[in-house]
């Protein structure tokens, strides 16, 4: 920031001073809801990053069954589903002397006696991988297609819009079925499938935003200056289209998380050895009488996350909206 007094001093006579410096330095802050949402999402991302250190593996007996008692596995047991009040018993357990003590599970256990909260923690990473991977992919593909379509219009627009319509018309579930039955369950395949769902979503928004921004006279001015298309797109159009693309991308992350859950319910979820929110949701769905708490846990987490995403997306759009911040 320039020192205001310096600026005033250098202002040559006859030059119209722009409004006061206070106005220039005024930057709009993220609104209240946006800040709360950002905090929630930060926690979720942090959990995703460090989840291996947060959970404790349950103690299993030789046949693989979870045995009652306290016990922690490797890593930092920041969350220990087994609450040992008896230090002696706990120490005994570290020595592998079998289980003693009492289980305290935050949201209960699954059919196999495993801690659901731990599953949610571990699943956070997978869910985020799927969500971010697919949405970033969709941003690249859909965004590029959309901007190119909106900028060049005409024939290019026709084909790009056709691609979006085809993607939209093609049921995601059928696509997922086909892909997963051919290539098998894997995190990548699921990301790919839900990414395709997000492409037209982001692409259409990018196209619509580009259509209005490319009409602006500064784009015409850049062309009149002899700027090449790539330069006009990256320098003039993209920075203006990006905020609306980002806010829809946040929405898309929510959509993807929900989609992953619904895929898991019909058996197209992540592989057996991987945890995800969708998987917890689906497992709960298989036995509603006994495991409804799993479903509720996953559903609440997903709902809160999606709401936070929407809130943050909205707040970001507002923050970067030039006209709204102009006052």
């Amino acid at each position: 920031m320039l020192d205001p007094t310096v600026v005033e001093a250098v202002a040559t006579p006859g030059i119209e001073p722009a409004a006061d410096v206070a106005q220039a330095s005024h930057k709009k802050k993220l609104n209240w809801g946006g800040r709360v949402a950002a905090a929630i999402l930060l926690i979720i991302v942090a959990v995703g990053l460090i989840s291996p250190f947060l959970t404790a593996d349950p103690i299993k007996n030789s046949s693989g069954r979870v045995i009652e008692g306290c016990g922690t596995g490797s890593g930092l047991p920041l969350y220990d589903p087994i609450n040992c009040v008896d230090r002696r018993a706990k120490n005994a357990q570290y020595r592998g002397e079998g289980a003693v003590g009492k289980f305290t599970h935050l949201v209960g256990v699954d059919g196999a006696g495993r801690d659901v909260f731990s599953q949610m923690l571990v699943g956070t990473r997978t869910t985020l991988e799927i969500a971010l991977g697919s949405v970033i992919g969709a941003l690249l593909v859909g965004g590029t297609l959309g901007i190119v379509a909106g900028y060049f219009r005409g024939r290019v627009d026709y084909w790009a819009s056709l691609i979006f319509d085809v993607f939209l018309a093609y049921p995601a579930l059928v696509l997922a079925l086909a892909l997963i039955s051919v290539r098998g369950h894997s995190v990548f395949n699921i990301s790919f499938t839900v990414g395709i769902v997000a492409i037209p979503l982001i692409g259409r928004i990018a196209r619509a935003a580009t259509l209005t921004w490319a009409e602006r006279e500064f784009v015409m001015a850049a062309k009149a200056l002899g700027a090449k298309h790539l330069r006009v797109i990256t320098r003039e159009v993209l920075p203006n289209v990006l905020p609306s693309m980002m806010s829809i991308a946040f929405l898309a992350v929510g959509v993807v998380i929900v989609t992953e859950g619904s895929l898991a319910i019909i058996g197209l979820g992540v592989p057996d050895d991987v945890e995800s929110w969708g998987k917890v949701l689906a497992t709960g769905g298989t036995d509603l009488r006994n495991l409804s708490h799993m479903m509720i846990a996953a559903a609440v987490t997903i709902t809160v996350t999606v709401m936070a995403l929407n809130l943050l997306g909205d707040a970001i759009r507002q923050k970067f909206d030039v006209r709204e911040s102009a006052l």
Partner: protein
Amino acid sequence: MAGSGTIHLRDESLIRVENLVVEFSVKGTKAKVKAVSNISFDIAEGETLGLVGESGCGKSTTGRAIMQLPRPTSGTVAFNGTVLTDLKGEALRAMRPQMQMIFQDPISSLNPRRTVHAIVGEPLKIWSKGSPAEQAAKVDEVLEAVGVDPRMARVRRPHEYSGGQCQRISIARAVVTDPKVIICDEPVSALDVSVQAQIPNLLEDMKQRYGLTLAFIAHDLAVVKNISDNVAVMYLGKMCEVGAPDEIYNTPAHPYTRALISSIPMPDPDVALDTSQRLVGELPSPLDPPSGCRFRTRCPLAQDICAQVEPQLTAVGKRHFVACHFPLITPVSIST
């Protein structure tokens, strides 16, 4: 074709537009919007041509057609002897720094996400003119010339400036590449009256300082008269009258010009509101313009011939031409 003619063209000119036609197709139909229909004009070096007319008369389209944005449907635009309408791709792009544009909406013509300094420096970056330090110095120079503090311009974005200042910034961006010609497309229409006056003054200064040739497009006749050396009055894609501003305003030869002049609001309560010359009716659709003279549907002097024969530009003074069957002043024959 008429309402056209090339009799008024001079031998020496920097910009020469001949038989310019611009048509747009309407989506989903075969109809064509005849935005500009066979007009010709020229601008001599160092001169300012004022293009004036109501909205929908094709004046802005004409301005953009000179820039080849978009390319005209037919006709030629020559710049300094080079026929722009024949140029393609890189050859046309290479001509761009010599011709610049200023637009109507001061806010919309500047990218809201970039600093003003970056916006004005962009043309130099595109053409890699000089080192970054030289570029910055040049930007500082033009910003100072248009009266915008260069120091502030490094941190401020367009929305932090008033409309008048944004228009100054647009002018700075236009002159930064040292162009020969600037097309000003309604540069004052979006501004308050109190601010409007700054822009013609500034353009005159810039013209002196950088040796510019201007095309000034506006619907405000008083502003056009003030800045122009030559005025062309357009109506529905046609040229009505061309000539020196004082002559056109003092002795308008075309009934449309007369009506335009009489509708200028006068800041004087004692000037009786003259409603006798007021234009009646609506601008006909450019999809299906009237036959013959396009102004005949609203013209108080129209006769049968006006519907059948399109008037050609004829001389009514030394540098004063009109396309009308019944001009308000008698035509003269000029020997060339």
